[in-house]
Subunit: 240 residues, 2 copies
DNA sequence: CACTTCATATAGCAACGCTATAGGTGCTAG
DNA sequence: CTAGCACCTATAGCGTTGCTATATGAAGTG
């Protein structure tokens, strides 16, 4: 079950750590597991990497290359904010596909000690947002926007990782993503501001919904469903 | 340096753990430190709390009371979204004032294991957003909005905790906060990125009606009718 | 009193991250 | 060729971690 003995121990350690981080489900990854899989003993690890975190940092560097490659590889679409959207999605995807590695990179939080990779990810985002800024598409300095978006991005990814796989709903990601991007963008084209928002009630809302439904012929319900729905709506809205 | 011997060991353990979590800088908190400070031995801890995490959960419950008290204590301003803003700030403040406790509550992330408190915090937020929905002030279902906002809130707080104290810039928080709230709210000239204005008003109205119905337990429909009605409403409001 | 139940202590296990020390290996200098 | 010198790795074990099998005490109940 050990690794190719041809390779130098340093490489074997890196690969073993990466594999264990990628595959271990739930429980933590110990140095003993790593050294056993790499076919070396403890001092070898500490000789090359100083300590456990040093090894993980090295693994992360490799993983980060992959991450960055993902972030950079798609050709710029000419629409910087669209690229930011894709960077967000790539970030989430990376976190969900390699949760343990992601947790080492972004989830290992202690007071006043910032994972090195955060700064890099921030820089990548900022770079892209800078293009958006040049194009006059954002209304916030790129650096602040990058920090803000990254914080939300990490928060969403961590929350998704913490959820049971079958419950993971990527809509949380897309919704938060679009909220953040929308908020920093200067694109003011937005329809349908609600005028009477002040004192809405069941009745007002029902009336509004009723009118809107009849106007737009929503296709979310079948015609018979819609008929019954509208009847109930009428009962509610005419009740008080 | 031990605790008041009058108190029952269970309480002494809780206080010791809370104190160590609050004061320990950087390093982790061990069961031996806790039991030593509480003046008991290991089995006592495991008898009362099952395991270390059980003890921490209990501490967190107490800390959560404090957190919730902070979240609830300010009188409703009549402006739900303003209250959401204050809940956000209170959340960040709590995290920065008790970083270790916060990290146990929100930062202890492992795949597929969600800290219990997240659901509670989500419910608190959702409750407030429900009021906003009734007032027709948001264009997203309250539950989804709550999850999204909470994810961003946690992400921001974690990022601030990870930063050196002197670099912590609360503007990251306020900016992200306002971005998120702005994006889900309807009351601005800019509003959400809905393409079709007609459909958008359907959505807003449906969300408002849905929230209002659940709040007021309308008796205009029988329970079975209401159930079906709400299901249809959900179908409409969750379609974008 | 006998008996059960709860709560705490003694002692120790297995696993953890890590290291002092020593031995082996391959290189270069004399 | 050999001596010396880095460099690398293994043996063995330290101190600490979370946790527990077992035993003992206290407190209530018949």
């Amino acid at each position: 079950m050990s690794f190719d003995d041809q390779l130098p121990p340093k490489v074997r350690l890196l690969r073993a750590a990466a594999e264990l981080l990628a595959n271990s489900e739930g429980s933590a990854v110990s140095t003993r597991q790593i050294t056993a899989l790499a076919g070396v003993t403890a001092p070898t690890l500490y000789h090359h990497f100083g300590d456990k975190e040093g090894l993980f940092d090295a693994v992360v560097s490799a993983g980060f290359e992959e991450y960055v490659a993902g972030e950079r590889d798609f050709a710029p679409s000419g629409e910087p904010l669209e690229d930011v959207r894709r960077m967000w999605d790539n970030h989430v995807q990376f976190g969900l596909s390699q949760p343990h590695l992601y947790l080492v990179m972004f989830g290992n939080i202690r007071p006043e000690s910032r994972p090195a990779i955060v700064a890099d990810a921030e820089a990548l985002l900022e770079e892209m947002l800078n293009k958006a800024a040049i194009a006059g598409q954002i209304n916030v300095p790129p650096r602040e926007a990058a920090r803000s978006i990254l914080a939300a991005n990490v928060g969403v990814t961590l929350m998704l990782i913490a959820e049971p796989v079958e419950e993971r709903n990527l809509e949380l990601s897309t919704m938060t993503r679009d909220s953040m991007i929308f908020a920093v963008s200067t694109d003011t084209a937005r329809g349908a501001a609600q005028e009477d928002s002040g004192k809405s009630s069941v009745v007002v809302a029902a009336i509004a919904l009723n009118a809107a439904l009849q106007a737009s012929h929503s296709d979310q319900l079948s015609s018979s469903e819609l008929k019954l729905f509208l009847e109930w709506l009428h009962r509610i809205s005419s009740s008080s």
